[in-house]
């Protein structure tokens, strides 16, 4: 984790901070969702508790803490309590691998009478060489939370809800994996950093041997528009968000797999769901919106700009990293607002319509997108206009 104590402690603190940021994001996102849905349905939403209802977050958290803790008598006690924890772990693991911003380069400095060598801190919990496949593996573990919850509470309806939710998650995971293959084809690497670096500057490609430059930013969405659409639909279904949240639909299955859960256990399920949403929006912005990058400007000019202002190199690199972090959070916030906007404006799918969409439209479409991209690149190379 690091050559000496200083770097290891900083890495562990960074790890803890990113995990706590995900946990802390849940009340904020619940508040944004309630205010947003109120805005869409032309009503007020929570505004009693504190200014603009902001203290509502604290009120909810305290309410969840002091709720009565009980479990139905026929439930398998161990599995019943294991399910909420199993719903939280995959989101935390997946969020750890996303690169949040440019790395911070710390110049050697004097402290406590010792000279500490130069360090480079990655702005992510850990840097794994095969980033994409790891994040897909972590998000494929989300099924366990559902299955254990459905089975643990030994209630017919929650078992049915759990089975339907896991079948839906599995079918859409296939098209998610296939749509990601499209972007890997274009960028040619499984590592997040190379993909973000490849999406800098203006959109440029060879056409009939001459270099064409278009005003658009060099983002993945312009190379793979079809894959972007498939990714969005699959990610909506993957985190059980409307219009794909039939397993939890009040009308059909009471509350699906978390019928028997209340109080803090339900909050853990919410944390898992919102964590999954944050990871999904982070992935979308990395694959299709250029990650933490500025649209038309590449990172070198920005770092030079900031190192011009701040004399000390460490502060300059910290400021650039914070600048890019804010940019990345804006992109994630936009996509999370898309999650919520769709939730409060689209009706819910019927179950067979929902599964047919997954198997009979999204998967063939994603396979077609891969074949299309491969043949365009093949033709482009073959007659000398390479992408």
């Amino acid at each position: 984790m690091g050559q000496d104590g200083f770097e290891t402690t900083i890495n562990l603190i960074k790890l803890l901070l990113i995990f706590l940021a995900m946990i802390q994001a849940v009340p904020v996102l619940v508040w944004v969702e309630r205010r947003g849905s109120a805005f869409i349905q032309d009503r007020f939403g929570p505004n009693r508790v504190g200014p603009l209802g902001l203290m509502q977050l604290l009120a909810d958290a305290v309410k969840f803490i002091f709720k009565e803790e009980f479990s139905p008598n026929k439930s398998v006690r161990a599995i019943y309590y294991m399910a909420p924890v199993a719903a939280l772990v995959p989101a935390a693991l997946a969020l750890g691998a996303l690169p949040l911003s440019t790395p911070i380069h710390v110049a050697p400095f004097e402290w406590l009478g010792r000279s500490w060598g130069p360090y480079t801190f990655e702005m992510q919990s850990f840097d794994i060489p095969v980033g994409i496949v790891y994040v897909l593996a972590a998000s494929s573990l989300g099924v366990y939370g559902l299955l254990l919850a459905g089975w643990g509470s030994s209630n017919k309806y929650s078992l049915m809800g759990a089975l339907r939710a896991s079948a839906q998650m599995m079918s859409y995971e296939l098209s998610l994996g296939l749509s990601v293959v499209g972007t890997i084809l274009v960028f040619g690497s499984l590592d997040f950093h190379t993909i973000i670096k490849a999406q800098e500057g203006f959109m440029h490609f060879h056409l009939f041997g001459s270099e064409i430059q278009i005003f658009l930013p060099n983002w993945g969405i312009f190379y793979q528009p079809l894959a972007a659409i498939i990714f969005v639909v699959a990610v909506f279904a993957e985190s059980n968000r409307l219009p794909f949240d039939l397993p939890e639909a009040e009308g059909e299955l009471v509350a699906g797999f978390h019928t028997e859960y209340g109080g803090f256990k339900l909050l853990l399920f919410f944390m898992g769901e919102y964590g999954h949403m944050i990871v999904a929006s982070g992935l979308f912005s990395i694959f299709y919106l250029g990650g933490y990058g500025l649209p038309w400007v590449d990172t070198i000019t920005v770092t030079e700009f900031f190192s011009g202002i701040f004399s000390h190199s460490t502060t300059a690199s910290i400021v650039t990293s914070i600048f890019y972090l804010v940019l990345f959070l804006i992109k994630i916030a936009l996509f999370i607002w898309l999650f919520m906007w769709v939730r409060w404006s689209l009706p819910r799918f019927k179950y067979d319509r929902l599964m047919d969409l997954g198997w009979k439209t999204l998967m063939p479409l994603a396979l077609f997108n891969i074949i299309l991209t491969a043949s365009i690149m093949f033709l482009a190379h073959f007659i000398h206009w390479g992408v």
Binding site: V89, G96, D127, G188
Partner: protein, 122 residues
Amino acid sequence: MVPLIAIMVITVLATLFGAALLFFVSKVGPKVKISEIKSLSYECGLVGEEKKSTKVSVKFYLVAILFILFDIEIIFLYPWAIIYNDMLTTNAVFIFSEMMVFMAVLLFGLFYVWRSGALRWD
């Protein structure tokens, strides 16, 4: 070496966070009054009769089986996708045709699943 320790630390952190707070909440919350009615499983208020295990739900295992099989085919797409761009310069026809055969077999499998009615969700 570094990612493995970090992954283990995050898993332990997440499970500890969930379990510790669950335990803390059960200690802090009001005393649990176990009453026969309350601990019945939730049947929208009616007292549910205990039916034999639901036979209708057995259909879902076929989705899981098809998921495994198509998932393996996606796993084989990743290595090909990584080197496609580089291998285009060396032997383009070779790498392109190789994957088209693989995709044809995969598409035939999907088409068979579609036609055989395994994807009918009643």
